[in-house]
Symmetry: C3
Subunit: 336 residues, 3 copies
Amino acid sequence: MRRLLSLADLPGDALDALLDRAAAMKTESPDPSLLLGRQIALLFLNPSLRTRTSMELAAKSLGAEVVSLTPGQDAWKLETEPGAVMDGDKAEHVIDAVRALGEMAHLVGVRTFSGMTSFDEDRTEPVLSTIAAAARVPIVNMESALDHPLQALADLLTLRETCGNDLRGVPVTLTWAPHPRPLPMAVGAAFLRGAARMGMDVRVAAPEGFTPPDFLIEEARGLLPGAGDVTVTDDQAAAVRGSRAVYAKAWAAPALLGDADAGAAARTANSGWRIDKDLMALGDDAVFLHCLPVRRNVVVTDGVLDGPRCRVYAEAGNRLHTARAALAEILGGPGS
Amino acid sequence: MRRLLSLADLPGDALDALLDRAAAMKTESPDPSLLLGRQIALLFLNPSLRTRTSMELAAKSLGAEVVSLTPGQDAWKLETEPGAVMDGDKAEHVIDAVRALGEMAHLVGVRTFSGMTSFDEDRTEPVLSTIAAAARVPIVNMESALDHPLQALADLLTLRETCGNDLRGVPVTLTWAPHPRPLPMAVGAAFLRGAARMGMDVRVAAPEGFTPPDFLIEEARGLLPGAGDVTVTDDQAAAVRGSRAVYAKAWAAPALLGDADAGAAARTANSGWRIDKDLMALGDDAVFLHCLPVRRNVVVTDGVLDGPRCRVYAEAGNRLHTARAALAEILGGPGS
Amino acid sequence: MRRLLSLADLPGDALDALLDRAAAMKTESPDPSLLLGRQIALLFLNPSLRTRTSMELAAKSLGAEVVSLTPGQDAWKLETEPGAVMDGDKAEHVIDAVRALGEMAHLVGVRTFSGMTSFDEDRTEPVLSTIAAAARVPIVNMESALDHPLQALADLLTLRETCGNDLRGVPVTLTWAPHPRPLPMAVGAAFLRGAARMGMDVRVAAPEGFTPPDFLIEEARGLLPGAGDVTVTDDQAAAVRGSRAVYAKAWAAPALLGDADAGAAARTANSGWRIDKDLMALGDDAVFLHCLPVRRNVVVTDGVLDGPRCRVYAEAGNRLHTARAALAEILGGPGS
């Protein structure tokens, strides 16, 4: 592995090996000198709790030195448009920031969100692809316009712990959920890619108007290893019935990204999609997954979150182990 | 010690042992591998200079890995109300943040201030108690609505260095001081608890209207070990007379918390309570203490702060040694 | 070296030795235990990407523990005026912050910008000199009103790599460049001092009204070691002709610091000073230098920045090696 932009870039056996390594690092504390003398810079263009914590602690616990930067707060506001005449309020181009960091660090992690104008635009990953092209050191995607591979790795490790290492054919529901704000598709898209690559039976449930873009469903189907399936429905209960896990995530209505009022009305009209115990009971002893942060009692009830089948905290904890595995694979050399 | 929420939770001998350990760590550099392989997450819901510096450096110098998070800046804004329907601007519940951090770290430090609506409400520690109930790992209180045990530990270590290890019966004044803003009682309350637990002769001086709530005075008296006393006066000079130390701290008028104008007027009316050399001269070769940050020439004059009896910098430095001792006690195991 | 406030404080041979040490640390990884047990606090009163990254990674890679603070964001807003009656919005005086940090750390780095009212005032370094007088531990200037020695060290190391270790008589142009905002002179002044101290043939090019203050030119001339020269011109092309390096930097028109509209008009009137390939071609196979962050296509064209003679990324990378050398000199003891 030379970088980590998307799980879609990883062949199935490489993904399995990465998850095996994460599981091993969870069982037995990893070698604290594995990445000694390696420097890592993490660039957060958006807020983060789990990603910052897991990446910082993963790097430090393997012996690497790490610095975290938050442009617009402790560092300069960054321009992301290629070719821009920079006469506005942004002091530095992300190209220059990443190149400069790459001269001081052996790996640069970058977090940058969707522009929230169009999922078709997000599909081109305008910022991440600019960064990846400019960088001279490995880049790790710490969430981008339409992907979040580090989150998906933790999701898959949690699913393995629940359903066994062979996830082929295991039914899982990715369900849309209500939210007070329009959100990007990054987490949902990353989970789709990862679950499809593992050959799961992925059921995507979303109300009318919130169905993920066709290109994403097609991409996920293209990642299936000859097992599993990716299906789409607007019947939440039907999707959950028999599922071993329910992954809840809010995202904006693709066609309403430019219309705040219509988007809000559409989300409110579907507030009944909130996950509760009755819905969960339709699953096959299903566990509840979510990337966090989560809007309690909007996305999901307190009862589910604080109940016995909730795995969101274990899932968050797995961010540490999967981050360690990813950093070790990229920076640790072949024998490590 | 399984956690550190308040010095009131510590029996007198445990508090003595903790201060002994801090003093020993100040004399001789502590074992840099004592907390190797331990991860620590620090959650700052309010700004901090000394607490962040001392906790980060303490953890690192003992071999632990540490990450600091500032919700609302580098991490998500946090909801603190239990059972909230989270449809506003707060992306994550503090319960979930702390549980998630607890899956990645062996100890979570939390800093969260008073709501400044009522000291009676602060007394219930609404946020800290929610966090402590939700957490599955040790919690360290890095300042809460009505407590600041890490600060009080450094205060007591500084008093020991000035007056000897046995503080029983030693006269000390905690005096209210003017300030441009209404402030919480956390630091004053923590000092009261700590000084009472050590059996000091604690004199609380405050102008009419600024007397600390009765429940706090009663709580402090309940902590006295059969020596010392806690008395209250509105005569600043009488309190300081014969004191070995003067601890200055501003706090809001309890009855005026909801009335900004009346509170400001009451503070201004008592601007003469500013500590100066004449007041200090009434003490028994008294040293000046303050938690910092301090409003120069409002709380206390430059002359006192820059003079020979000022101990506020040593007091700040003791934050490092007491933080080391606290982390070592909680995470270092019985034999450490 | 007991501290690092300005390269002007360093005799020529000390500066040479510091650059030698940085070059050696770049060739061979430095001893990771050189600064074991040393604590470092970095206080950022202004945003930073390269300085924060290089100082944090330099400290950690030598075994020191480091904490970074950003007053106004994660720490308290700081007052900088000596003798102030602090009844406004600033919670802490920089004197107290630095003294408190100095009790917990063996070295304090401080970044604080120009007040942008007058370069004559900047010349007195009002904030840095207050800090340096208050501090009881070594201070490192991480950029001040009119200096930036850590940047100049990296500039000089990059020039050595391009032109050889003996820089005496080597022609270099420091040229003013357009910018949407009025900027301080700190980087330009630091480069002037450093290049003069090395005995370079320094040509300062600036349009009418943007000529650096006389006191700065005189100061630089005073640093010449009997070789080189410092000359001033308003003919950009003439300066660049035959130069081995072109260092571009924007700064405000000294006489227009108090007049935002006139300053903006003057900068716009000289937008033709933007560095492009035609200008660079006048040099003697000249390399392009800039401290970063840089406004692409305002200060300099994409063509120059992305072209083969651009050294700004190597220059940024040299921040790490020169920071290591500076920290090692100050904290590493005589035998290190």
